[in-house]
């Protein structure tokens, strides 16, 4: 049976066993040594809404058919790092990749002082990998203007970075994933960006990039940078839990 809710006991009122169970026992966060002890004690009375601590700070709630963990909260997407930046030539994020997560998501926006591509370089021990040809990528775009919609493609086998934005943009939103940057195998990359070309509200642009490193270096961070000028904006990085 589920808990009975709230009762305002008055002086001299009779407290019955059912009231103790309904108003107190079944509405408390009960304390057990583990899930086995919880099962032994509650299997015949468990009801939706009952809560139990099962050791180690883990709190569970019965949803009517099974016990679910409610604390600690274990989201699939975990914030790792991020920063806002203003009028800088590059942004380096160190030690954001580790064995804790295999894959990562990043999201942000960037405004350039000139129309310039913003690139991403992987780094380790405080040094960017800027070797030509280590970044292999391709992209497809759609551009819509007042007079026409055009589509096309970009690619590079000689790049020194992955592209976050296209060279014609000066204000872009971007999001993407980095696959296994910390593992000693090829790092994968995909990225989507949208912007108003040249700052014109009548000239929009969308491009998706994907690619891979050609070397199996283990990286611990990355740098984003414009091909020229300075950038302002923000970026956040999240780790993706495998379980």
């Amino acid at each position: 049976m589920a808990g009975l809710g709230y009762k305002d006991f008055t002086a001299g009122a009779v407290l019955t066993a059912a009231q103790v169970d309904g108003y107190l026992m079944e509405q408390a966060v009960m304390n057990f040594a583990g899930t086995a002890a919880r099962g032994s004690a509650l299997s015949s009375v468990q009801a939706a809404g009952m809560m139990a601590h099962v050791g180690g700070g883990t709190v569970t709630v019965y949803d009517g058919s099974a016990w679910q963990q409610v604390y600690p909260n274990t989201p699939g997407l975990v914030y790792v790092a991020g920063t806002a930046f203003s009028a800088v030539s590059s942004v380096s994020v160190n030690n954001c990749f580790s064995a804790t997560y295999e894959n990562y998501v990043y999201i942000g926006h960037v405004a350039c002082t000139t129309q310039a591509q913003v690139g991403l370089r992987l780094r380790v021990s405080g040094t960017d990998n800027s070797t030509a040809g280590n970044y292999l990528w391709g992209g497809a775009y759609t551009r819509w203007v007042t007079s026409a919609t055009v589509a096309g493609e970009h690619s590079s086998t000689t790049a020194t970075s992955f592209p976050l934005t296209d060279a014609d943009g000066n204000f872009s939103f971007f999001e993407g994933k980095l696959f296994s940057p910390f593992a000693s195998r090829l790092t994968g990359f995909n990225n989507v960006q949208a912007y108003n070309q040249g700052g014109s509200l009548n000239d929009g642009y969308w491009e998706a990039f994907a690619g891979s490193m050609t070397v199996t270096t283990s990286y611990t961070g990355f740098t984003i940078f414009p091909a020229s000028g300075n950038i302002s904006g923000s970026i956040s990085i999240y780790g993706l839990r495998n379980s």
């Binding site: 790092a81 920063t83 009028a87 030539s89 380096s92 160190n94 020194t160 961070g221 020229s228």
Partner: protein, 78 residues
Amino acid sequence: MADVIEIWADTQESVIRPMTAEELAQREKDEAEAEAAAQAAAQQAAQTAAVTQLAIAHAKSLGFTDEMIAVMYPNLAP
């Protein structure tokens, strides 16, 4: 000005510092490459525009109207 913002995810430290000589050299290289790529793209765009105009002129000399050309060759934007 060429400043770098550098953060450390594990310690939450953050610094803004001038670029090192090595970073400045890489930046100059990046800028030169971007300029070369932009020039190449502009050249290609100019070539494409010229060929487009020739194609449109040729199609018109055969009697096709702008509407017909747009339907037959949607990528041939004047």
